[in-house]
Subunit: 336 residues, 2 copies
Amino acid sequence: MATIEDVARHAGVATSTVSYALSGKRSISEKTRQRVERAVAELGYRPHAGARALASARTNTLGLMLPLRPDVDVRVVMEFVTGIVTRARAFDHDVLLVTQAEDAAIERLASGRMVDALILMDVEAADPRVARAAALGNPTILIGLPDDPQGLQCVDFDFAAAARLAVRHLAGLGHTSIGLVGPPPSVVERNTSFAGRLLAGFHQEAERLGVSAAVELTPPTHAGALGAVESFRALDERPTALIVHNEAALPSVVDSIQMHGVQIPQDLSLLAICPADVAQSQSRPLTYIDIPAESIGAVAVEMAMARLEHPDAPAETRLLRPTLIDAASTAAPLNP
Amino acid sequence: MATIEDVARHAGVATSTVSYALSGKRSISEKTRQRVERAVAELGYRPHAGARALASARTNTLGLMLPLRPDVDVRVVMEFVTGIVTRARAFDHDVLLVTQAEDAAIERLASGRMVDALILMDVEAADPRVARAAALGNPTILIGLPDDPQGLQCVDFDFAAAARLAVRHLAGLGHTSIGLVGPPPSVVERNTSFAGRLLAGFHQEAERLGVSAAVELTPPTHAGALGAVESFRALDERPTALIVHNEAALPSVVDSIQMHGVQIPQDLSLLAICPADVAQSQSRPLTYIDIPAESIGAVAVEMAMARLEHPDAPAETRLLRPTLIDAASTAAPLNP
DNA sequence: GTGAAAGCGCTAACAT
DNA sequence: ATGTTAGCGCTTTCAC
């Protein structure tokens, strides 16, 4: 393996010249740059990542901490990951993946100086990782919103606004009773940040608009979805519209509704809150509010990079605004 | 951040003693080891990964190359990843994730000495990455089986044997016409290694046992699944048993069968080839052949580690044998 | 059983 | 615009 010194010798210049020619951190005459580049190509030179990290205190690596909990939808998670990895590459960074939620992992990556910055996914309202990470020197970006985001860098979808938008859309069509097929109970129990915000937004807007609101926390299974639909049908004030925020249950919800001979949207309006491609892969077109998972991942990376540039910039929290895509699975309710 | 020198000073020993006390590479008196360990704890010392990599030519990092193609099922992919990350940690290794299929990424990781070994997922029958990787100094493990695995380290599920087992099981029950709901056409077109082996095993065993065999390559959508089921029903020799090797289509296949009023297994036997948890999350219990994705990932890591220990050991290919779990979704066909 | 010191390959002052 | 050189923090001879 060629070293920078080999390149320098081959090109007849000093090692620092090679370093600078490659990094562009000081001006180099066109002629020497060419010679260096030729030498690099001819020797197939690649800088040694460890040596560079040691000398520069930069690893060009991002740590991604992704607890793989059984109740998270991997499809959605992988969209985040895609956004993160793709955007990181644009900044010439690679991604180190950690799937344990243990604090030890944070320290290993950070104190071992394996990464320049950390991205924490699936943040809970009171997440022990957050304090750990904040105590670290490394920039840390949270995907999600802990109870107290003071002084932390956070990015997430505005789930509260999404729920409000959903309720508003349906109420605007004339619905007065709306059901929410919510996330799995375990997601709510462990205080996942997004679930609480979604539920709060849902109830808040329903109250504001004077529509009645019912929630079913729904396991990510076929049986769970059927159960939720049954529960809503058994209600005195049976909902005329359903909001579904549960990617795994969505197909079964759609199916079970149709199995009852209920027409969408004539008899029942259906509105999904999920990533675009999940909505679009259902058995019928669905009106949905997009969870822009890839964008959120990309923003997380951008925030991390900005932090590396300006370590003292004030912390900011970014919530991405919801947009509704109408595919005619919602309509005015039938007059009784 | 404390360095090894700080620790040495704090413990009143030489830096080399600290190094050896930590690595155990030479014997240390119990007393000094204690002192070193105390100093490490008190200072919160963590070795600098880059410095270590530079001095030892070991990064304790594994590269995982995971092309995110739209036709792969992320659920299954994430099981592989889980197996890999978990097992890697057991060997004190972290995982660097690359999602581009580009050759450039291989060189970056390997020549940049960012990783000790590489694991390539979703290998195609004639995969350009393979030649690149083989040319590298780093140990490389392929998950999948290229056309010519000579001299390469490969691990995969024995899809051919799985297909044969499935056919044999159904033929043994008395079925004489079997349909295969296969992977998406694009998966076959791009010569994904597993798809070809599965199809070959299916046809081979069907021919051997003299049962008629039909295949529908099935897009991973609801519409695709419905289409496949319709096609089979339209056949002159309508299959009395279906093998499904398509995680995304599986739920829709089950639903559409039931929607036709067809009883499983009385009217139609159904056998899935998929990871256990996919089979178990369906709307009814399914007889299935397990794709042990996590185990495969774990084996890949073990092979990589073995390679690091014994770089000159002969290359081996490991194919994991299929097992069938019977959940009564297959039965003898009705006599006409 | 322990220490001293020579690198590993790079970056970034500091020179010129 | 380019060259010289002192580290960065660790591992591993080599010496005792």
